[in-house]
Symmetry: C2
Subunit: 513 residues, 2 copies
């Protein structure tokens, strides 16, 4: 029953036509002809994704030697002063958007073959002969997206809210290309956990329902032989799942499909992909200890699979003992949050089955949810402290409280109290990614605290806006805005899918439980 | 009577179809997949000019980041260990055949858009992620020339002669593209003095007569409004003469046209271009002092025109006080050699007119040759020392003796003695370019000393062969083979038109007077 080929055909049929807008710099031109060592900074006014053409000419004698140029594309001005040579981090410097090239014939229109995600372009003359200078006469960008600007309703709110919404919408728009990219500068691939947040924000903004559908089919088509969904996938040169598995991302396929069916009423797709969704639940059984009904603390199977796929540095930096991702915090123990994600997604599986009028196996799932919720309360909830703990070291973290709040394991008041208590615990493992911050804000809405949720969102994402963001960053630490987990902002992704959800919240997407 | 448009149309009609041969490396492949920092040296077995394609793939996980490569193309292994960063010379480092580029999708066939002149290609992995390695599965070169290998007669001679002939023929072949390039790596343009030597060698080898004709028309079409021929021209993006004038190069158009008509019998082209040739004689009158009938020592007009076209460094390095080029020796006084070149070329004008049965003005030219030969003997020939001297400082140089020998100003015995005497003068200004060495060898043949001519040629060009040359260099100092006048071999041209003439001599092209 290998239906992956069929899924891929459906995904291919949904491949969107990209919308192209020609954009010219708002600053930098006209410019004086440049000699060796001169440079020029072009500002295209906002974050864009696309292909650049430079119209080049010369001043002086007929060029008697090739021009040698360096082009540097930056999403954020923070990247401008960073150099490739200065970058020693573990993420590949292949991501740095910097080119060197030669121009043999002038005048010419230099159309660069690669796509870039950027607002700023620095043109630097590495070599020009003494007989002439290089003139940049014009420059333009064919900015692409598959988002339909016409589908976006005007935003109503305060100027601060409008600013956050604008940046969030821009973030999603730049990530909407052939599929929902996680970051159009870096990593340019489709991640399942990010897809879910993009889909929710898309429903509230561009209504890119077919793109969500396409991405669901891409994941279904890229599943392993055992049916397990990869955490992310590549579409070029042909579809291939990354050898990277994350238990929570695979489970969130269920929630993403449920959201899609609930939003669109497309029951056909729901029925088509339900087996893929339910297969993730079957596979997730291996994460549980049958005795305790708890997610095992440090899942060896997952570690082995992930170790195979990583180099030695990645192992040191990225891989922890868990099958779950949850957040970028490497000290986080993920047992409790993993347990909560499972309950959350299994509840969504029941909702999805209900939408599809599918009852087979529902009762068994309900019982498992009950058993594992009870196990969580019995063994992971510290009633005296009013907090969930995780792992053999009984770690207290924000992530555990947030996910158990979303999983509806405790009465509302207790769940709220857990969030209040963790805020008072200076030792608690913190949230480090906008992805995790989203779930915190979502949990606050879910628990009926829209003012608090709004305040958290305005503080956190508003901080990036106050830093001049055109799009929301992959990572943002309000206590240290210039921090890069990679060693240099030059490889940071300043436009990242999982950070786009303020538009979802501000446009009323979140619902109380 | 501006016929330049008509000349250009004729030149365009003669644009050759390039012959393409697919060539694969003789060493370097197969190779192990490469990690960051690894490199691979491909050897294509001989000097080639053309476009390269690399067939790339990966080993390991699906690529999760772009590959960043550096490609370095070298004519000579001497270039391999030189770096762009280490180059501080005055010739533009834009000439260095080194690229950096990113590969977004693997597997792929990477077809590089630029043309390179090289034998060696080093592929260096500047960045690859830890999840995969880069595999160079195949590499090929579409090697181009407009030379007809089928027209080349087998060479008969000693192994040493055959080796020199092979390298000379390869040099010419690599330079024969859309036109006779001076160097396919650097400078890739058409120079008049070089054209003359290429044409002579072509008659003895590939018989590229139409290419010679095309280049004559290109120069005629690129003349200034006053009819003066530029020393070199560009054909891209459209025909344009360089703002660089050399009195001897312009005069040698006459000899090149005479050689062409004599070799081909194409009187129509001869008649078409005769006015262009004779115009150079008219214009050359300004170089003479009407009192002495000698070329002025340090021609101010020429200096002004050339200064306009040069940057400050070029002025310091390249421009001397003369309208004549003669040789790359910057200490050379060019008055005497200039006088001799004028006589030599004017004699060729008479020969050309005779071929075309054109008598108008011939007698006047004959009288001028007489007068200027007499003036040279009277004022530039030091009868006691048996040598020509040049300039107010009465400089003794090889160039002066060589050109007066070619110009038939002295009886044969005196001309020979001048060459013997200059060899005994340790203070004499030396010859530094293969271009000037050609004229020395040519003078020896001309004076009826074929053994001596042959020996000089075998010693000088044979020295390059013994250094492993695949093609003959732009510049070669036997006393210091690693010398570069540019500060680094990385911008040297190791395949240069004006060095190709041993095939002309070895195949019997030179004639006694």
């Amino acid at each position: 029953m290998d239906r992956r080929k069929e899924y891929l055909e459906k995904a291919d049929l949904l491949k969107p036509a990209l919308r192209v807008e020609r954009v010219r710099p708002v600053a930098g031109l006209p410019a004086e002809p440049m000699a060796e060592g001169d440079s020029l900074l072009l500002d295209f006014g906002n974050h864009h994704v696309g292909h650049v053409t430079l119209k080049l000419n010369y001043a002086g004698s007929h060029p008697d030697a090739p021009v040698w140029l360096r082009l540097k594309f930056c999403e954020s001005p923070r990247e401008l002063n960073e150099t490739v040579e200065g970058y020693k981090g573990w993420i590949s410097k292949g991501w740095i958007q910097e080119e060197q090239l030669h121009i043999d014939v002038l005048p010419c229109e230099l159309s660069l073959p690669r796509r870039y995600a950027f607002r700023y372009l620095r043109v630097e003359v590495l070599a020009v002969s003494l007989k002439f200078r290089l003139a940049v006469e014009d420059a333009w960008l064919d900015s692409t997206t598959s988002a339909d600007d016409g589908a976006l309703a005007p935003f109503e709110g305060t100027p601060e809210e409008a600013a956050i919404d604008r940046v969030a919408v821009r973030t999603l728009r730049s990530c909407m290309q052939d599929f929902f990219e996680d970051g159009p500068k870096r990593d340019r691939r489709l991640w399942l956990g990010d897809l879910r947040l993009q889909a929710l924000t898309s429903y509230a903004t561009f209504h890119g329902d077919d793109l969500v559908k396409r991405c669901l089919y891409l994941f279904a088509a890229a599943a392993g032989d055992d049916g397990q969904l990869t955490a992310c996938l590549f579409t070029e040169p042909k579809l291939e799942g990354d050898d990277n598995w994350m238990a929570d991302y695979a489970l969130l396929f269920i929630s993403t499909l449920k959201d899609y069916v609930a939003h669109t009423g497309d029951l056909e797709t729901g029925r088509d992909l339900l087996p893929v969704a339910l297969r993730q639940l079957e596979l997730s059984e291996s994460y549980f200890d049958p005795q305790t009904q708890l997610v095992r603390d440090g899942d060896a199977k997952s570690l082995t699979r992930r170790q195979q796929s990583k180099g030695p540095e990645n192992q040191a930096n990225m891989v922890d003992q868990s099958a779950f991702f949850i957040d970028w915090n490497l000290t986080l123990n993920k047992q409790a949050a993993g347990q909560a994600v499972w309950i959350y997604c299994t509840r969504d599986a029941l909702r999805l089955m209900a939408l599809l009028h599918e009852t087979d196996g529902a009762e068994a799932l309900r019982q498992r949810i009950e058993a594992r919720s009870a196990a969580a309360v019995a063994r992971l909830y510290d009633g005296e402290r009013g907090l969930f703990v995780s792992g053999t070291d009984r770690q207290v973290s924000w992530a555990s409280q947030v996910w158990f709040a979303l999983a509806d394991v405790l009465p509302r008041e207790d769940a709220l109290r857990a969030l209040e208590n963790v805020a008072l615990d200076g030792e608690a493992a913190i949230m480090v990614s906008p992805y995790m911050m989203h779930h915190y804000v979502d949990a606050l809405y879910h628990l009926g605290c829209p003012e608090k949720a709004h305040q958290v969102m305005m503080d956190y994402w508003g901080g990036m806006v106050r830093l001049g963001a055109d799009t929301f960053f992959e990572l943002y630490n309000p206590a240290n805005p210039d921090e890069s987990p990679y060693g240099s902002p030059i490889v940071n992704s300043y436009c990242h899918a999982w950070s786009c959800t303020p538009a979802y919240f501000l446009r009323g997407g979140a619902k109380e439980r």
